[in-house]
């Protein structure tokens, strides 16, 4: 984790804890690299052994790819971005040596809450309910209690993950008699900052209207604010009736509709046409909606992307508006 605050309990009096807490952020596993060295010459006498530059044991020696089909656990906490899912595994580890019969640990329980800028009090985090949830479990010496949670980061700014571990520690006197048990608790705090990944700037232009109704062109610039390349999966308009959108974007290239990528700090331009549909019924509902300051509501932009190794994220803008048609 990025930063960790000091523990809150007074360990000095009660002695070190028998259970440790370790946290690993589970972004997608990454693919290993390999060196893929060229042979010196066709004469292999002083070349390297066949498999020396491979990243994994394999039968076909001739592989000059610098990426190996081998998964690696996440290396570091890395940056956290708004719109992406934040997945973490929490491990409560029984640190008592296997031969140590003077102490035992039981009823280990892990709970977590996330403090966000809009909810500094913190909200309980759902620790996979499918598998026992937050119920206490017994953990053998040298083993661990593993929990995984997944939350969507919706706000920019400082987040704090508060993890509380509680367990019962039993002391044994000689001959295995329980000399006393006590409930122990500690909590750890992990801070990180959620940053925006895609910056959206929009602009609406009124186009000459047809006889059916007004037409608008919506342009948007998507800026990749991160330091890695982002693959756009979809960019859609969720229109506010009676508007109907049509895309001017990569889907139009029917021969090769590959979704575009945006490099770090690059900007990608998209555009949509929004046409007002004729009001078939005379119902009042289908008329254009207006904001309190009398601007016309066109719709919302919804963007889905993937980051390296397939981590997914999405973002929706607020209502995009335009001035009322001049007609």
């Amino acid at each position: 984790m990025s930063r960790q605050r000091a523990q809150s309990t007074s360990d000095a009096i009660k002695g070190p804890h028998s259970v440790s807490l370790k946290v690993l952020r589970l972004s997608r596993p990454s693919l290993a690299g390999q060196t893929a060295l060229p042979a010196l010459d066709e004469d292999k006498d002083l070349s390297l052994p066949r498999h020396a530059s491979r990243g994994y044991p394999a039968s076909d020696a001739h592989d000059l790819s610098t990426i190996a089909p081998v998964l690696r656990l996440p290396e570091s906490f890395a940056a956290a971005y708004v719109g992406e899912f934040f997945t973490c595994t929490l491990c409560g580890n029984n640190e008592i040596d296997e031969g140590d019969e003077t102490r035992a640990v039981s009823r280990v329980r892990i709970t977590a809450e996330m403090q966000t800028p809009s909810n500094p009090g913190g909200a309980q985090v759902d620790l996979d309910t499918t598998n026992g949830g937050a119920e206490a479990a017994d953990v053998a010496p040298g083993s661990s209690l593993q929990k995984i949670f997944r939350v969507e980061l919706k706000e920019e700014g400082k987040h704090t993950l508060v993890v509380t571990v509680s367990y019962t520690e039993t002391q044994f006197a000689s001959e295995g008699k329980a000399a006393g048990g006590r409930m122990r608790t500690f909590r750890k705090l992990y801070q990180f900052v959620a940053m925006p990944l895609i910056g959206v700037r929009t602009k609406t232009n009124e186009l000459p209207s047809k006889k059916d109704g007004a037409r608008f062109c919506l342009e948007a610039q998507l800026e990749n604010l991160s330091d890695h390349t982002v693959c756009l999966q979809s960019v859609d308009i969720l229109p506010k009736p009676p508007f109907k959108p049509s895309s001017f974007n990569w889907e139009l290239n029917l021969a090769n509709p590959t979704s575009p990528t945006i490099g770090p700090r690059d900007v990608y331009q998209i555009a949509f046409l929004l046409e007002q549909q004729p009001t078939k019924d005379s119902g009042a509902d289908v008329g254009p909606s207006l904001t309190p300051d009398k601007r016309l509501i066109l719709g919302q932009l919804s963007i889905h992307w993937t980051s390296p190794m397939g981590d997914q994220g999405s973002l929706s803008t607020g209502w995009l508006t335009s001035i009322l048609p001049s007609a």
Binding site: P29, A32, S53, H62, S65, L71, P74, P308
Partner: protein, 510 residues
């Protein structure tokens, strides 16, 4: 102007750059004396109790070193056996200029490559590996060091031989030693240092000083493989004299090499066409072999370009480049080629393309590459029964993991595990996906069982990294446990697979 007199002043010029090089050895290739490089494997096995004795060494399939360095071939210059037994080489090739680095330019003096200032000392390997590495230093022939994966010792030995025991005109040997030095640095994870040494020694191999005009057309004296390595290293570090340059210039160098390879393929094809009916059978075979070699080199360069683009962070460029390679290989005049080399190349470039898209997160494009592989796969699986899965088989479960479908990925790895029991790649990938499905216990079982003694092949870098991460996640005593693992590894048989045995230090995060 400047009251304090700091205006234009005259600086005394000091020749700081000129540093006296220690006098290099005058021993030449013809001097008869004990040469550590030419020692047979019988001499001084690094650890007498272990497998380096001639008996057990000969059981290894690749250990022909004992025969290769047998006394009848004991020439003082064994680093380039081709000059010592030319009969083993293919017959004379018409239309072929002199061997690029046969001593066609005896006047070529490479003393500037032998300066000790070019070669920096390496950080020592972690404690458990030190004793054996030290025992090896200075007395084991380099081929043996390489064969058993002692890349740290081999890198040191290569630099020592370059700076102390090599004559400046012994061109073959200097190039070979330089290759060993740079390649070992890369394998040990010191890519930047390798790039620095590459820039300080040969630097830009396109410069006129590396060209020989002895034949009908200029030939580069630096061996092809070494040039590929030098070019790749341009993507890793600073340029000559430490200046910062665009790492993508490595791609330009590779295109230059590809131009040479393509030119040679064309030239040999022409020679074959012209000589039809006039050339002897052996000559034709020689030329065809030559053409195959250049064609393979050309294709390898294609994949290497993608590798450099990956290294400099342009994954999209790499993916598009590979897609282009695949298209041009299955269209145009290459389309009819169905020989094994061509098919293997198509498979490899598709697999690489799939891996590139996966790393980028372009899941749609990755799916496309995987579908292309499955179409190209022979239906009756003509591949031999193997204990290793093909890389193509590993891609679909990797895609599942990238899609976030970890339970699906676990199922897929488990069925591959049943098909190829004991395969470490599959066990490693299965162990990683199990952690994501809250089965830490099973992850631990797989990773720790992979460490068991006597398992072949020995642990590979990413597995060690995953094991280290797991230990950090499951105990506060991770450092002690990792040291235990390193000690255990140091006792294992040294092995040259996957970057060798001393890599453990980096991967275990010690």
């Amino acid at each position: 102007m400047d009251p304090k007199g700091r205006g234009h002043g005259r600086m005394n010029s000091v020749e700081e750059r000129r540093v006296n090089r220690p006098r290099s050895s005058t021993r030449g290739p013809l001097d008869e004396q004990e040469d550590p490089l030419s020692a047979t494997t019988e001499s001084l096995p690094p650890n007498p109790s272990r497998a380096l004795s001639p008996d057990s060494a000969s059981q290894r399939p690749s250990s022909s070193a004992a025969q290769r360095y047998a006394p009848q071939f004991q020439s003082p210059n064994l680093l380039s056996p081709r000059s010592s037994h030319p009969a083993a080489r293919s017959p004379t090739r018409p239309g072929q200029s002199p061997r690029p680095f046969s001593p066609s330019r005896p006047e070529l003096d490479l003393s500037h490559l032998l300066s000790p200032s070019h070669y920096q000392p390496l950080p020592s390997p972690p404690q458990p590996f030190q004793s054996r590495s030290l025992a090896l230093a200075g007395r084991t022939p380099i081929p043996t060091l390489l064969q058993y994966g002692h890349f740290h010792s081999a890198a040191i030995a290569a630099a020592e031989h370059l700076t102390l025991h090599t004559a400046p005109r012994d061109v073959d040997r200097i190039f070979s030693l330089l290759y060993v030095r740079l390649a070992c640095l890369v394998l040990l994870g010191h890519g930047e240092e390798a790039a620095r040494e590459a820039a300080a020694t040969i630097g830009d191999w396109t410069q006129p000083m590396w060209l020989s005009y002895a034949g009908r057309r200029p030939v580069n004296l630096v061996p092809f493989g070494l040039r590929v390595l030098l070019t790749r290293l341009q993507a890793e570090g600073p340029g000559p004299a430490g200046q910062v340059v665009d790492p993508r210039r490595a791609v330009m160098g590779l295109y230059e090499l590809a131009r040479e390879a393509r030119g040679n393929v064309g030239r040999i094809s022409e020679a074959l066409k012209e000589g039809e009916g006039k050339l002897e059978k052996s000559e034709v075979e020689g030329l065809e072999g030559e053409r195959r070699m250049w064609k393979t080199r050309l294709r390898d360069l294609g994949v290497t370009v993608a590798g450099v683009l990956v290294d400099v962070g342009d994954l999209e460029g790499a993916g598009e480049h590979l897609r282009g390679l695949n298209r041009s290989s299955s269209a145009g005049e290459d389309a009819n080629e169905q020989d094994e080399g061509t098919m293997a190349f198509r498979r490899q470039s598709l697999v690489t393309e799939g891996l590139v898209w996966l790393r980028l997160g372009g899941l749609q494009a990755a799916r496309g590459a995987i579908e292309g592989l499955q179409e190209g796969e022979p239906s009756g699986s003509s591949m031999l029964e193997s204990t290793h899965p093909s890389t193509a088989e590993l891609l679909p479960p990797l895609l599942k993991a990238a899609e976030g479908n970890y339970p699906g990925a676990v199922d897929a790895w488990e069925s591959l595990h049943a098909k190829y029991p004991g395969n470490l790649t599959i066990e490693n990938n299965l162990a990683v996906c199990l952690l994501y499905t809250r089965q830490l216990g099973k992850t631990r079982d797989y990773l720790t069982s992979m460490l068991e003694k006597g398992r072949e092949p020995s642990p590979f870098p990413s597995f060690l990294f995953n094991l280290a991460t797991l230990l950090e996640l499951t105990t506060e005593k991770a450092r002690d446990r990792k040291m235990d693992v390193a000690t255990m590894l140091a006792e294992l048989e040294p092995d040259s697979e996957c970057g060798g045995w001393e890599r453990a230090a980096v991967e275990l995060k010690l």
